[in-house]
């Protein structure tokens, strides 16, 4: 079982209570009051407006305005509309959605119900990665409880609103976390992303208007409806309100989950909350938002964890998965692990990505073995540059950015391998 977060706030404050994952436990602490309020006292447009004013940004990586996304759903249409919950959490360094599914099942379902009301969606498909067997079972239990109580089904809470929720399990493919890859997979196909436009709000799941939101994004919604936009904005920064559940992993004393306001200093999370690097060693670099994001060197950790600040340092909040590397770490090995992953997970649809991820991995491994040449560093940047922004989906960007980041901040590590014709970091983690 998962440990509850070391630091909790409104999303996770009850996660330590044994009965909280049940509908009784959730209602005991006020659960489903927000959904009742939205469905009986607010119009769909009022809900969308509220979420817009609150400034909730998607927590799945891209950080797009949730209220704005909901407003893209067509209003005058006879076609069924769908919601999709992206629970395909696979970003290395990210492990927050798992606990939000396991412990906060009803909190997320309540968020889904409110989003369904706001967008007029008739069905929600929760797409959970195949490896998350327990979270999927727990969600099925929670959905069953919600149906039994009349919170889902033909007549939600006696309001006449109809909503169904289905769980679909993935089968092991990182690319299905990309929203249109997910939609393809949901339709029973290979998870190869679609060209946009048309965007999912026009042509989404099964060809119908669809909104895709992340697990954590839905989980914030009941709190906003219950306590208001101003309350939500009392957490975080002007541009990035609310809390998020940061996952800290790698070389720290206390790896785990920390629910903190957006805008919390990265250095505070790493050194104060997570206890810094064990054994008195120093930090060498930190990936701030899941492995797809660019690394920050030790000297740049004085940055608030919000996109408006991270962008200035050419990286992003992503999923808030913070990976810490100590001074023994060989950054070429880091590049090897990262590039292997992207090579393995490329769906193969676009040439730049399919070929580029393979070449980057081969060149990085050659450098690590001591067989690299000086010009290899330029070739790496050249390949990465030709992948970025050239493909159907953002996977190729996600494969290029971390390599560009490592070369931007740690090119000496690469150059030293070439010069010494071997890996000079004997103490580094094993490859």
């Amino acid at each position: 079982m998962l440990e509850t977060p070391y630091v909790t706030n409104y999303l996770t404050e009850h996660f330590g209570e044994e009965d909280y994952p049940t509908i009784e436990g959730y209602e005991r602490v006020g659960g489903y009051r927000a959904a009742r309020k939205a469905l009986t006292e607010m119009s769909p447009d009022e809900v969308i407006e509220l979420v817009k004013i609150a400034g909730l940004q998607g927590r799945g990586g891209a950080g797009f305005s949730t209220g704005m996304k909901w407003s893209f759903m067509p209003k005058d249409t006879d076609r069924p509309k769908y919601l999709v919950c992206n629970a395909d959490e696979s970003e290395p360094g990210s492990f927050k959605d798992r606990i939000l599914l396991e412990r906060g099942s009803h909190q997320m379902l309540e968020g889904i119900l409110i989003a369904a009301w706001a967008t007029g969606a008739s069905t929600t498909f929760i797409y959970i990665r195949g490896e998350y067997a327990y979270p999927a079972d727990q969600m099925e239990r929670a959905i069953g409880e919600a149906y039994a109580k009349g919170y889902l089904g033909e007549n939600v809470m006696g309001t006449g609103f109809r909503h169904d929720v289905r769980v679909t399990r993935g089968a092991g493919a990182y690319i299905c976390g990309e929203e249109t890859g997910l939609l393809e997979s949901l339709e029973g196909k290979k998870g190869q992303p679609r060209k946009k436009p048309p965007f999912p709000a026009q042509y989404g799941a099964f060809g119908m208007p669809t909104t895709v939101n992340n697990v954590e994004t839905f989980s914030h919604v009941p709190h906003i409806v219950e306590k208001g936009a101003n309350w939500f904005r009392s957490f975080g920064t002007e541009k990035s309100p609310g809390t998020t559940v940061f996952g800290v992993s790698g070389h720290v004393v206390r790896p785990g989950l920390y629910e903190l306001p957006l805008g919390t200093m990265l250095s505070e999370i790493v050194f104060e909350h997570a206890g810094g690097v064990p054994g008195g060693r120093k930090v060498k670099g930190v990936i701030p938002g899941g492995m797809s994001m660019s690394i920050l060197p030790a000297g740049q950790l004085d940055v608030p964890m919000a996109n408006e600040f991270l962008h200035e340092r050419k990286t992003m909040l992503g999923t808030g998965g913070i990976i810490v590397m100590d001074e023994t770490t060989c950054m070429v090995r880091v590049a090897s692990v990262i590039s292997y992953f992207f090579r393995d997970e490329s769906c193969g649809q676009c040439t730049q990505c399919r070929e580029g991820t393979g070449w980057i991995n081969k060149i990085v491994d050659r450098i690590e073995r001591g067989a690299g040449e000086e010009e290899d560093l330029e070739v790496l940047l050249d390949v990465a540059g030709k992948m970025e922004g050239q493909t159907i989906c953002a996977f190729a960007d996600a494969a290029a950015w971390p390599i560009q980041g490592l070369l931007r901040h740690f090119s000496d590590d690469f150059a030293e391998h070439v010069r010494q014709r071997k890996c000079p970091f004997a103490e580094s983690f094993e490859l």
């Binding site: 440990e3 360094g93 798992r98 289905r166 399990r169 089968a171 092991g172 998870g191 992953f341």
Partner: protein, 156 residues
Amino acid sequence: MVISKQTRSKIDAVIAKYPQARGALLPALHLVQDEYGHVSKECAVEIAEIFEIRPVEVMEVLTFYNLFFDSPQAKHHVYVCTNLPCSLRGARGLLRQLESQLGIKAPGETSDGRIFLGHEECLGACGYAPMMRVDGQYHEVLDIEKAKRILDSLGE
């Protein structure tokens, strides 16, 4: 017919839950694999008939996803996560030691076909590294002793 009546009726029930039958293809493959341990060519052909699609379309999906198998599998599946957060905390060393305990190279299976040992990409347990997934179950915050005990406790 190779797919059992029970599994067939479960597939039909899942199909009814989707706006288009094809949406139930991944769930159907999961169901068949739960029963047989893999999805054989015969099963794939039968699934194609159920969904009124070509067998190659089933094979295309079957081979795209890591969790589906199109050939018979070892009794037990052991996967050590070797992605970055786990590697930083010794996952590769753990995998090496399990290789020598079992006398095999990962990915590979023991000569009696009992245990498959492999590595897997991020499993969403980065804060509890190193970890492994054994027959679908997560085992976290491992050291070599703990991991060996888990392997020893696997049934025939």
